[in-house]
Symmetry: C5
Subunit: 388 residues, 5 copies
Amino acid sequence: MAHPPSSESASSDSTPPDFTSSALGPSAHQRQRVGLPPGAVVFTGHEKTAPVTLSVLNYAEDYVHEATDVSIDTALQQRDAPGPSWINIDGIHDVAIVQALGDHFGLHPLIQEAIVHTGQRPKLEVYDDHVYIVLKMLSLSSPGDLDSDDDPAAYAPQLQAEQVSLVVGANWLLCFHEDPGDVFDPVRERIRSRLGRVRKVGTDYLAYALVDVIIDHYFIVLEHLGNRIEALEDDVLAGAATGTQEKINAVRRDLVTMRRMTWPVREILSQMERLESDVWSEETRPFVRDAYDHAVQVLDLVESLRDVVGGLTDLYMTSLSNRMNEIMKVLTIIGTIFIPLTFVAGIYGMNFDYMPELRIWWMYPTMWAVMIATAGGLLLYFRRNDWI
Amino acid sequence: MAHPPSSESASSDSTPPDFTSSALGPSAHQRQRVGLPPGAVVFTGHEKTAPVTLSVLNYAEDYVHEATDVSIDTALQQRDAPGPSWINIDGIHDVAIVQALGDHFGLHPLIQEAIVHTGQRPKLEVYDDHVYIVLKMLSLSSPGDLDSDDDPAAYAPQLQAEQVSLVVGANWLLCFHEDPGDVFDPVRERIRSRLGRVRKVGTDYLAYALVDVIIDHYFIVLEHLGNRIEALEDDVLAGAATGTQEKINAVRRDLVTMRRMTWPVREILSQMERLESDVWSEETRPFVRDAYDHAVQVLDLVESLRDVVGGLTDLYMTSLSNRMNEIMKVLTIIGTIFIPLTFVAGIYGMNFDYMPELRIWWMYPTMWAVMIATAGGLLLYFRRNDWI
Amino acid sequence: MAHPPSSESASSDSTPPDFTSSALGPSAHQRQRVGLPPGAVVFTGHEKTAPVTLSVLNYAEDYVHEATDVSIDTALQQRDAPGPSWINIDGIHDVAIVQALGDHFGLHPLIQEAIVHTGQRPKLEVYDDHVYIVLKMLSLSSPGDLDSDDDPAAYAPQLQAEQVSLVVGANWLLCFHEDPGDVFDPVRERIRSRLGRVRKVGTDYLAYALVDVIIDHYFIVLEHLGNRIEALEDDVLAGAATGTQEKINAVRRDLVTMRRMTWPVREILSQMERLESDVWSEETRPFVRDAYDHAVQVLDLVESLRDVVGGLTDLYMTSLSNRMNEIMKVLTIIGTIFIPLTFVAGIYGMNFDYMPELRIWWMYPTMWAVMIATAGGLLLYFRRNDWI
Amino acid sequence: MAHPPSSESASSDSTPPDFTSSALGPSAHQRQRVGLPPGAVVFTGHEKTAPVTLSVLNYAEDYVHEATDVSIDTALQQRDAPGPSWINIDGIHDVAIVQALGDHFGLHPLIQEAIVHTGQRPKLEVYDDHVYIVLKMLSLSSPGDLDSDDDPAAYAPQLQAEQVSLVVGANWLLCFHEDPGDVFDPVRERIRSRLGRVRKVGTDYLAYALVDVIIDHYFIVLEHLGNRIEALEDDVLAGAATGTQEKINAVRRDLVTMRRMTWPVREILSQMERLESDVWSEETRPFVRDAYDHAVQVLDLVESLRDVVGGLTDLYMTSLSNRMNEIMKVLTIIGTIFIPLTFVAGIYGMNFDYMPELRIWWMYPTMWAVMIATAGGLLLYFRRNDWI
Amino acid sequence: MAHPPSSESASSDSTPPDFTSSALGPSAHQRQRVGLPPGAVVFTGHEKTAPVTLSVLNYAEDYVHEATDVSIDTALQQRDAPGPSWINIDGIHDVAIVQALGDHFGLHPLIQEAIVHTGQRPKLEVYDDHVYIVLKMLSLSSPGDLDSDDDPAAYAPQLQAEQVSLVVGANWLLCFHEDPGDVFDPVRERIRSRLGRVRKVGTDYLAYALVDVIIDHYFIVLEHLGNRIEALEDDVLAGAATGTQEKINAVRRDLVTMRRMTWPVREILSQMERLESDVWSEETRPFVRDAYDHAVQVLDLVESLRDVVGGLTDLYMTSLSNRMNEIMKVLTIIGTIFIPLTFVAGIYGMNFDYMPELRIWWMYPTMWAVMIATAGGLLLYFRRNDWI
């Protein structure tokens, strides 16, 4: 199999993955790939300057070895480590590293291509001695401020999707992600502190634990979207501002993207539960089934939120119609009262020589009385009809 | 398997489960769980001060032993009771009790986690010597006033969802729910009074009876939603007030939530009917099939109500458009009649030296006649066109 | 099995089944059942004073015995009649009769419950020596006037749904329905006059014939709904009155109900075709397949009508917008012509000492000419733009 | 099996099949059947006076015998003809002929009923020695003018649906249709001129060829509908006239009907491809698969057109809103400019004794200047805001 | 099998395939086919004058022979070439060439018909010694300008769909397309430069590579559609111009067409992966699975874009309503302020003899003060209500 020379390297800017535009099409990822031979390991994400860092977490029931920012050789040696080794690669834009690891751990060229190609659909593939899982890790742009939900619609942290590739071998697990920083700290903490069963079992359980954390983060994103929808509903009810429908559409689009990214997860976990592989032990199955239930719940919630957003558009449309009715009522009330009266005033402003009323002294006060009575009657009529 | 120390205990406020916000996202439940090891028995519902109470109902064809507010030891002893024992646990916020029971009755850690984790999707899981069923019990916030349906839209009792976990063993049944008070009194009454077949058969039939009562309550909730929809339709037809679409959306959201909570019930009952387990006898099957039919009916009704709510939004939108047309008609009629007349009055109010009409004595009454004829003609025209 | 004492009996009012409200929820039927033990034979329909009447039609190829208003004992004796016996029970509110028949003919308690419980979903259940079928018989409230379709929208006969339970034994068929009067007269007539094959074959063919007649009546109801939709379309096009959307929603709701009641029929007939039972002969199958095709056609038509009703709402909304445009055009034309002219008249009504135009004798006629030309030009302009 | 006396015969009027109303319900067809025994051969279509004509086309690889307007006896003799015989029956309102043929060729009574019952759903049924296929032949009301597609929306040829029943025996094929005239001339021509393989193979291939021609005509109807939709889109964009939504709904309804009539065709062809029957040879299969692909394409196109029609309604609604905005802009511009100016003119038309401005000679020209400046400023403002 | 004389030849105009109208119906393609015998090789696309050109690319691991614009005989000789031969036929309007190739390479007449019949639905068919694949190649009308995406909505390159037929034999691959120019240059380049594995493996891998390139181009088209949608969203937000909904509908229609053309691709690749054929090697399977994943991604994106377009229509409708509200507000503010003031001015313009106010010197300035205060108060009130 031919591997093209990996001339791909770091360039100048380090823009974050653009979640929104990725909702509107395949963006630049797919286009750069057009015409390349399959199995060509070419990075298609945003170019980055940050160096790729590797970290290793080797553990067994009775020890933990943790090393961050290790060299590639250290990582390669983990293949023969005694206990399970979790090799974390922060950054996939240095294709040489991906290839070095891939060749050493025996990954199929198509896997190597998929790892650096950030536009993958979530999927699980079983190979002879390893399992390849690709997922989307969703997070909010400023995760530190998660608890300040005071005004989510105004604040609007951006959704961020990052591709996570897990390759699960017999006693090693490669975890590739695009950017430094991930959501796996709780798992690390559990390994360090011997919390839960993770220290006692193999890489399959570790893989499950990582997938489970990713799914748990979907709930956080859903909560955030739910808050945004509620804030939008308040906006609409408080008096629909102009940008509301735009915000509603942004939420809807986020939900469309979220659905596209989470829908295959159910299938992945269903495959994972039925997996027949050497690297997959029987006792991990109930946990995978549990994660499967969570994934189904995520989909249920996404669908429910989509329904609710649909109702929000209706709410906004009827609120606009209601406002229009209010505006027109004001004009109509004013018009209906004053247009006839102005006409009467116009009549007696005419300059006909023969207008006997003008000569009668009580006509003027009478006219006032009639006018006031008419206006009052109309106001009463409008109140009766609930116009005022 | 590692059980973390259950430091979880009762805190200060005792807010009711927030049904509405749960429709808009996973709320706080899922977030608290993020990063915890699976099988960690941590209560994620609303914190409560009320103590957890246990009650036991042990019966056979010829006797009934009923005890409320028993100690945990009494509950544990029920494992070896001769007849079927129904152990009811009101409150799941004291994790120690759940763990004590769980360990004694041999529940898998994932079941223990699921019991205290109130954001479960309804499901049924079969283990070696017990079956685990989780369901949502729906009720209205003030169940005592159910019969006063005089104005359901104004009154609007809140929907309440409570998670019920049933663990069905050979001759014991654990029933966990979040709050004191449940919908199972009719079953208790039947056991006490030997009504129906419940006294003659095992825990499988008891489990069926409890599920059946829960499904029966779905019909009550559906009836309530149906009443709210009818009241809303009356509101819309009586003259659409501003808050109507908001109320329509609230009903729609309740239906979305209800659907999310009842949809898996069909699958549960289908599994239950086909269940191959020691704790499940053959003669309970026709009853489960009956309950299955009820669950399908619930789903049919939920879908029908969703359709009807969709029509309600259309009705509201067209009623708003109709109102707008009415308002505009009034303004247009007034304008069309008086604007031209005012123009004529304006003409003869001009101060040109040479305006011969002003000097003719019959011009003024003629002008009145023409004006009245014009107005009358326009009114006639409007009536012909069904504007008035 | 425990049968509660059937204290249920006739009370005062005899309201017809409320089809519309049944579309909006489970109404009173399900609520009364809550908490009752399964198999409890308690009538849940509307209470009635009319006595339950039984009639018997016993026939074979060479004889027909027909007896109406027979005693319960006569009915029970039919179990051992030589030829097929069709026992018709008009009214299910006397639970004692249902129980007597049920126990004598060996019906499962759940069937007995289902027969008197009028909120069943249509279904077919196979027991050892009999088949239980429950269907909804749809009819229009005043069936005698079916042919006077002159103005279906104004007349609007109400849809009526009645539950029909068929229990098909080896040579007996029990047919329970809620009210006297049914749609089975054509079948009776065929039996009496030896028309068709019904006299030569068994109760399975009779059951098929009854189901077929019920399905045929669905077509009548669909025709009626189709007529109502056409009349509504004419209403909308003739000038949308205020109640139109309400009527559209009523039709939609009837279709929702109809769909809910006819959707399971397809499944029933599919089961019936594949039925393996002693009471079901091979040569009835092609007829059942024929009825199956009819049921599918009913569903096709229901879906088509739903689509058409959706289009009707669009038509109504655009017709309202069109009307609004018409109204606004009138106001705008009047305003655009007369407001500027009134302004000019106002100008020359001012009392400035120095207004030289007022002194020129040809100014007044000139002004008239300019005004008429302006108005004419605007009218021309409006006609050019298709406003008039 | 009992055949009722076929007293059905030709009556006075010969209205064409009413396609539109058939879209809105089962029309008269189903109602007339209610209560008839199954297998009753009663014509339910529109009554016709034209006599039923039979024609025969008997052929083999080396000869063709063609006879039109033959007697029924000639037709019956075809059963024993050496080569394949295509017996065409134009008109199914003479039930005696259908029965004579049916009995002679051994058709099941249900087939005989289905042939004369014009409201069938398309289906395929396999009997021992023949296959029964029922399809809807769609054509446009004036097929001669198909090429004059200059203004399809204005011209609007009506869709016509005609039921075609094919009964395929070992070496005979009965083809029943409602009216004289069909779409099969190309097949006849191919038989006469030995074009294609039709002369070399059996009745199964002939049946396929007929079905294929019917499907090909669906494309013509779809093209016509596509043209109507395009013309409607032009109408909407040119300025939405009042009848547009009505026409949109008519197209939508035609598509609903078309979908109802073509949806089962896919299933029929799928059955046909898998058919295990003596009358069906192996080598016809690839051709049937080809026809299946065409049928799927028809359904794809119907669904696509339905989507496009949905977009058309949106286009119409927004175009109405746009027009409304245009109308309101005109009124608002006129009002905003002249109402304030008229007010100023009104001020100086007042008759207060003490109004010093009236005495100043340059006030009048100044006022004009101010007024013109105000109006110009407003016009400029409106142009800036893209109102003009 | 009968092949009609292929009298079809090049005519005068060379219009590009009309993508848009093909979305609205089967256009001319299907109609020309009506009545032709199946297997009749008649070109149904747009007539063309350009001659059909053939090119051959014969290669093995160690050599490449490339020849463009070869004679038909050269192409026919490729059947016995040693290594895989890729025969490219640019133009299918010369039916004689298609038939010559088809007969020589042993293609079934139905394949020959399908190749020249440009209205095929994408499909894959397996024959004894070859596999037939038909796909739609989508491209933008001016592919050279792909990178100038500055204003996609204004520029709007037209979508172009071209039918590509691949016939994959043991060591030959026929590739028919309608027009000169294709998207396969990257594959050619890889063959020439020994890039990737294409040179080492057989025609099955080549077929995969071509299908993969076609799918990759779907992503380019999707990116373009995504850009158009974003540009449209900007248009709507910048102030909805009149043609916007038209453009939205154009995008929607392109998506409908795209969906129709890409939906079957998933099924094709699924078949391809499971293919049991001599011409299909085991080691191509993982690559086909990879292409399958891409095809699923295309469908996901199409569905997502459809959702987003739906939201765009909502956005446009609410933006129109917002604009209407803005317009009405201006009119209402002007009217509400000036109509009452004009009335007052009219009052004191009356000519009654007895109007004591007119005689008081401070009335005029007072009136001004009152008027200014009223107008100011109203403005304040409007500002309070967020109208200004």
